[in-house]
């Protein structure tokens, strides 16, 4: 077992009042060839998901797992199989011992299609956090720009 970095692309939606930086979680993982295995407790602490008889569960939500044998390997949960079970894209770099797990396209799509503007909290130049939902009651023009 050794250190592994996991970047959670859902962090901003799970906890909108908390800044997304840094989004990286450190956990212990076992590497076996291309397979990265994380202890179930570490995965639960990092991402909130737990494997139960009815599937992968987080809060009130459970997702059935079709291929348990791919998901649970020895004492660990295979990270790529976990991502597939939740239909979440995984960028994995085994030699660098790091991965980024994005939100699924289905989740982002349904959120946008609801037309409820997704809430977020971001810092200004002084580091003070501003949350979109603080602007309720006012019209908001959200402008994305950049120095590039």
């Amino acid at each position: 077992m050794a250190g592994f970095t996991l970047i959670d692309g859902e962090l901003a939606t799970r906890r909108p009042a908390v800044p997304a930086s840094p989004p990286a979680i450190q956990l212990e993982a076992e590497i076996d060839g291309d397979s990265v295995r994380v202890a179930p407790a570490a995965l639960r602490d990092a991402l909130g998901w737990e494997l139960k008889p009815q599937g992968l569960c987080r809060g009130e939500t459970c997702v059935p797992v079709r291929d348990r044998a791919a998901l649970v390997v020895g004492a660990g949960i295979d990270l790529a199989a976990f991502a597939r079970a939740l239909d979440r894209p995984l960028a994995l770099d085994v030699p660098e011992r790091a991965a980024a797990l994005a939100a699924s396209a289905a989740e982002r799509t349904s959120r946008l299609a609801s037309l409820e503007a997704p809430d977020f909290a971001l810092p200004d130049l002084g580091g003070r956090l501003h949350r979109l939902s603080e602007q309720r009651g006012k019209k908001v023009l959200l402008i994305a720009y950049a120095s590039w």
């Binding site: 970095t5 997304a20 982002r108 130049l125």
Partner: protein
């Protein structure tokens, strides 16, 4: 909301503008992900109840680059003023939905690759970062928050020859462009 790699990159613009509104920095591309932003500038109208009433739209506040992109700012600004002052021009739900650019598995995987690349870069692992920036670009070639946004990070000039190569492929488009600014 600046899609920049640091507050310091955005600072000169914010300080010059001296805005009276919140001006924030999205170094981790959180809002780019939530709203499926694929280029800058992108404008979204959100009403008093927190509902999107005009989806992602590539519009400009000035005519500084009209020669390049062909859009004039005044029709859009007039529509914006009409919305703010008179409540005119908010689009109905069906129209908003039919003009939303929605993410796909590949565009979301590209975001994961970009996030990994960004972390690796900051951890000093430049070669590994470069591989993942390249993979992100392959997966979502139409997302300039990745392909152009990563240029300053990778030591490339975002206004230089690589940018002009990129532009020759075509500028990213939102479905919203099909509507004139003063429709609705």
């Amino acid at each position: 909301m600046a899609l920049d790699r640091s507050a310091e990159d955005a600072r000169p613009y914010i300080e010059r503008a001296r805005p009276t509104h919140p001006s924030v920095i999205d170094t981790e591309h959180v809002v780019a992900d939530l709203y499926h932003v694929i280029n800058v500038p992108t404008m979204v109208w959100i009403d008093e109840a927190g509902r999107i009433v005009r989806p992602n739209d590539a519009q400009f506040g000035t005519d500084t680059f009209t020669q390049f992109h062909g859009k004039r700012s005044e029709p859009y600004l007039a529509a914006l003023r009409a919305w703010v002052r008179e409540g005119r021009g908010a689009l109905d739900a069906d129209t908003v939905r039919s003009h939303q650019l929605l993410p796909t598995r590949d565009t979301q995987l590209a975001r994961a690759e970009r996030a990994l690349a960004w972390w690796l870069h900051r951890a000093g692992r430049r070669d590994a970062a470069e591989r993942h920036f390249a993979r992100a670009a392959e997966l979502s070639p139409g997302d300039w928050t990745i392909r152009r946004g990563s240029m300053p990070i990778r030591g490339e000039n975002p206004m230089g020859p690589k940018f002009f190569e990129l532009a020759r492929e075509g500028v990213p488009r939102y479905p919203m462009e099909r509507l004139p600014p003063d429709a609705g």
